[in-house]
């Protein structure tokens, strides 16, 4: 059993939706049916449900961790949940679905491989479906599963499901994500969640859990464009490692091998990889998302914020970038305003040069003349940065294509940007 555990891989997924979607019920069922809810947790929510005078055990209480959330019966923040099946480990980023929590959805989606979007079978595509799909696709989530939920309330009718599915196929063609799946479920009764539904013999696809367990995620990382942002310089100052200078960082893309020719940005100096060091010994190659320490053949001045790349495959070195920006602050974006910007291990200052358009995230229409960017708005923005950044397009690499903006007065993270 132990050995098998060491071979499991990790899938991070996000679920967005409001309480009435049945999202909490769905998560509760995945946790419950995969035996990830413990007896004392179950007892605690049973007691809490009774105190509130509810008839059934309210599974939403499992995910709503803060006192204010329990009191108001809403999800305010991202909560992380964990469960495992024999082959795969899952991290759920459970996010609220209302429009005023777009920033939380963006946060949860930023690290996800997959998004589950719930569609109420009675209502079909609604505004919220469009919004969640757009955010998932904007954040570069490679796989989207549409769960057409509450099939029990439409008599498990195949025609009904097919009609909604056809609408979703038409709509999702406009999105950047390419892998879409559709599953008719009833989270309340458990149809097609973990167990196959006896009520929908016409559905020949996989259950939700089976899909989550088997979806191919190995190619979700970029293994082509070699990028190692230098995070920390390791200098042991010990006799046995007298001249050791190691460049520590997490591989953001590509595969680095011992002996590879590399270029260091921004200096442009070239060298070769002498060794790839880890605590457990040297290794021959390293790839995303490994954390390693590399040494180079030549003595070059390298510090945090520099990037090690291959000579023939370099990112765009530029001070002007265009981003899709999700604004996260109660204070509106200041046009021509100055912010701190972070990108990989690099930090600088930037100015908002231009707001090109705002996106109506319900209709996906561009609002060209609206440059008042408020909390939860998404806009295309041009930035001027004080120093050159080593930028990739977000669609090519989520690690080297993402930035955050920080308010210089409050130190708060106020914006999330994806380089276009």
């Amino acid at each position: 059993m132990s050995n098998k555990y060491l071979e499991m891989d990790l899938l991070r997924f996000t679920t967005a939706g409001s309480v009435d979607d049945g999202k909490s019920t769905l998560i509760g069922r995945l946790l419950y049916d995969s035996k990830s809810i413990f007896q004392d947790q179950m007892e605690a929510i049973e007691t809490a449900s009774q105190k509130k005078g509810e008839e059934k055990v309210n599974l939403a209480l499992l995910t709503d961790g803060l006192r204010a959330e329990r009191e108001q019966g809403i999800t305010i923040d991202v909560a992380y949940r964990y469960f495992a099946t024999p082959n795969r480990k899952f991290i759920i980023a459970d996010t609220p679905g209302h429009i005023q929590y777009t920033r939380n959805m963006v946060t949860g989606a930023s690290t996800a491989n997959l998004a589950i979007i719930l569609v109420d079978a009675r209502n079909g595509i609604v505004e919220q479906t469009r919004r969640h799909s757009f955010i998932a696709s904007l954040l570069g989530i490679p796989h989207i599963i549409y769960c057409i939920n509450k099939m029990d309330l439409v008599d498990y009718d195949e025609q009904h499901y097919e009609k909604i599915k056809a609408e979703l196929v038409g709509f999702s063609a406009k999105l950047r994500t390419k892998d879409f799946r559709f599953i008719p479920i009833s989270a309340l009764n458990g149809d097609n969640v973990v167990n196959r539904s006896k009520n929908m013999p016409w559905y020949e696809g996989s259950t939700l859990l089976h899909t989550l367990e088997n979806i191919h995620i190995a190619s979700d990382h970029n293994h082509i464009d070699c990028r190692l942002p230098v995070q920390y310089v390791v200098r042991p100052q010990k006799d046995e490692y007298h001249d050791f200078r190691g460049y520590a960082g997490r591989i953001a893309g590509g595969v680095f091998k011992t002996g590879d020719e590399v270029t260091v940005l921004p200096s442009g100096f070239q060298s070769k990889i002498k060794s790839i060091e880890t605590f457990n010994g040297t290794i021959d190659e390293a790839y995303a998302p490994m954390s390693v320490t590399v040494t180079l053949e030549d003595d070059i001045d390298i510090s945090r914020g520099d990037m090690i790349v291959r000579p023939k495959n370099q990112p765009n070195v530029t001070q002007d970038v265009e981003i899709m920006l999700c604004w996260m602050s109660e204070n509106p974006l200041v046009n021509r305003g100055k912010y701190t910007i972070k990108h990989t291990s690099k930090e600088a200052r930037c100015m908002i040069k231009d707001v090109q358009y705002k996106v109506d995230i319900n209709t996906l229409h561009r609002l060209e003349n609206d440059n008042q960017i408020q909390c939860n708005d998404i806009a295309k923005v041009t930035l001027r940065i004080t120093q050159p950044f080593f930028a990739d397009k977000y669609k090519d690499n989520r690690n080297t294509g993402s930035v955050i903006l920080i308010d210089e007065a409050t130190n708060n993270t106020v914006g999330a940007g994806m380089i276009v």
Binding site: D9, F38, Y232, P289, T413
Partner: protein, 301 residues
């Protein structure tokens, strides 16, 4: 397994090492909170990996209630010696002696809550600007909402409704003078991950985790060790039992488990079959539904 695909434990390890390196890069004077429990031991192991072949570039701080098991002190001192660790001790007894906190009275008296003051004083005294902790999101519902980089105001308080958004792997450790951060590198690990990792990496842990004979009694359905720090009620019978500890905290509030698991493999088997969370035996969490959230807001780890 496909090439160029990390296993989930390797991916969690890479994430934690990344976070620890960010701490060293973004803060001037960080400290690793070390309780001698398995989670802080794993954090320390990850820190040693993150900066290898250099030494860990920050000290460890033990917030010592003075009510720990002897085995724990011995383990702590041996580990520091073997690994060249720098340890500072923040003593709850000292806080009591200085009159900063008042010891709880009564049968369920515990120094658990007093630790918060000692911890915050220790942070202030040594001018630490970041305290790294081994909290996991799967432990408790308030911890499920924690960020990796968690901002604390100049009173050391956590404001759960006003947390900084945390996107991708871009961690914002900016703060004003007097504020500090709590950083949780193993946020995404579960109890099972910790045990499997201890087995895989052959990490030493205190003997308390393995099954042994000990004088115990039962209170509110929880098996407690008999120690000098805890008063028993007349009807509480002291018996020798075969037990082990699933978590290790202050001896006054950490419950033991009846168990024969005397090896890591057996512990893992037991954890896999368990239907109760590891904090199920922690009296400190049972004080109210939001006990953890309330303590965290005040600055508890």
């Amino acid at each position: 397994m496909a090439k160029y695909q990390l296993s989930h434990l390797e991916e969690l390890e890479a994430e934690s090492i990344f976070v620890l390196r960010e701490v060293a890069a973004q803060f001037e004077n960080p400290v690793l909170l070390f309780s001698g429990g398995k989670d802080s031991i794993v954090c320390y192991h990850l820190a040693r990996k993150a900066f290898f072949p250099a030494n860990v570039p920050f000290p460890l701080m033990h917030v010592d209630t003075g009510h720990n098991f002897d085995e724990l002190y011995q383990f702590r001192d041996e580990l520091m010696e073997e690994t060249n660790g720098r340890l500072v001790i923040a003593s709850v007894q000292k806080s009591i002696d200085e009159g900063k906190v008042v010891e709880e009275k009564g049968i369920n008296a515990s120094r658990n809550k007093l630790q918060t003051t000692t911890l915050l004083d220790g942070i202030e005294e040594h001018k630490f600007d970041c305290a790294i902790g081994g909290a996991r999101r799967d432990e408790e519902k308030a911890r499920a909402k924690e960020r990796f980089f968690s901002h604390r105001d100049d009173f050391g308080q956590w404001d759960p409704k006003n947390q900084r958004p945390e996107l991708w792997n871009l961690f914002n450790g900016k703060k004003h003078f007097g504020e500090h951060f709590r950083v949780f590198p193993i946020s995404n690990w579960t109890e099972m991950d910790i045990w499997q990792y201890i087995l895989k990496e052959n990490i030493k842990i205190p003997s308390l985790y393995f099954s042994h004979q000990r004088d115990c009694f039962v209170r509110d359905g929880v098996v407690m060790a008999k120690t000098d720090f805890i008063q028993t009620k007349p009807n509480e019978e002291i018996k020798q039992m075969q037990v082990r500890f699933r978590t290790i905290g202050d001896a006054t509030c950490t419950g033991a488990t009846i168990s024969d698991a005397d090896s890591l493999d057996k512990i893992i088997e037991e954890v896999a079959a368990s239907r109760v969370t590891e904090r199920g035996g922690r009296a400190d969490d049972k004080r109210s539904e939001a006990a953890m959230e309330d303590r965290k807001k005040e600055g508890y780890f």
